[in-house]
């Protein structure tokens, strides 16, 4: 399984990511997820979220998740971009892409990765008030 992980303070460039996609002829499904910073956190209106990562451990934990995913589903490729630092409201902090032969496994694997990431990968957020 091909994997690609980017942890960066740069904005996520969806169009560039889409253009760089390479997939085998046997693959029929691509599922992409974008997590976008919402303008409110609880009851508070915010301007941005500041993401902090313990980056070497985040990378290790993502590797474990990629391994678990690859053992469970016949996925060809997973790409993850997590933006850190200050991410303004209405901009994406997370982009995940899963490529698989069929739709059901692509959806399942993508959701698994995000669910597990939210339990395991050491990244934290701090709302920045307006």
């Amino acid at each position: 399984m091909k994997t690609e992980l980017t942890i960066t303070t740069d904005p996520i460039d969806e169009a560039a990511l889409a253009k760089r996609r390479v997939m085998d002829n046997g693959m029929g499904a691509v599922v992409c997820f974008l997590g976008v910073v919402r303008g409110n956190e609880g009851n508070e209106t915010i301007a941005a979220i500041e993401y902090e990562a313990f980056e070497p451990m985040a990378r290790r934990q993502f590797e474990f998740l990629f391994d678990a995913l690859g053992q469970r589903w016949p996925v060809e490729a997973v790409r993850v971009v997590h933006r850190i630092g200050t991410v303004p409201v209405n901009e994406p902090s997370l982009w995940v892409e899963v490529i698989a032969p069929h739709r059901a496994e692509a959806f399942d694997a993508c959701q698994f990765l995000i669910d597990e990431m939210k339990q395991k990968v050491p990244i934290w957020k701090k709302p920045i008030p307006i």
Partner: protein, 87 residues
């Protein structure tokens, strides 16, 4: 100076645990063969605000999560942090 019965463990605090501790990391001396649970207790004694969050603390040694029973070795780098919130 560390006696031969003691080892030095570095602990890093992440997210708001850094504010609770008042510093990003500390070097702590502890008896050889101490477990992660014992180390956690000692850190909570030294940084009392961390004791309030003790039950929700996530614990890693190096880059991996470890259980309370994990036996520490001299030079280990421990991380304590609140529940993660990526995405």
């Amino acid at each position: 100076m560390v006696s031969s019965e003691q080892m030095t463990i570095t602990v890093k605090f992440w997210s708001y645990f850094r504010d609770y501790a008042g510093c990003p990391e500390a070097a702590i001396e502890i008896d050889n063969g101490a477990t992660l649970a014992k180390f956690h207790e000692i850190v909570c004694d030294q940084f009392p605000k961390l004791a309030d969050a003790k039950n929700s603390t996530l614990k890693a040694v190096g880059l991996e999560y470890e259980d309370d029973g994990f036996v520490l070795s001299d030079g280990d780098e421990v991380s304590f942090f609140p529940p993660v919130q990526g995405g």
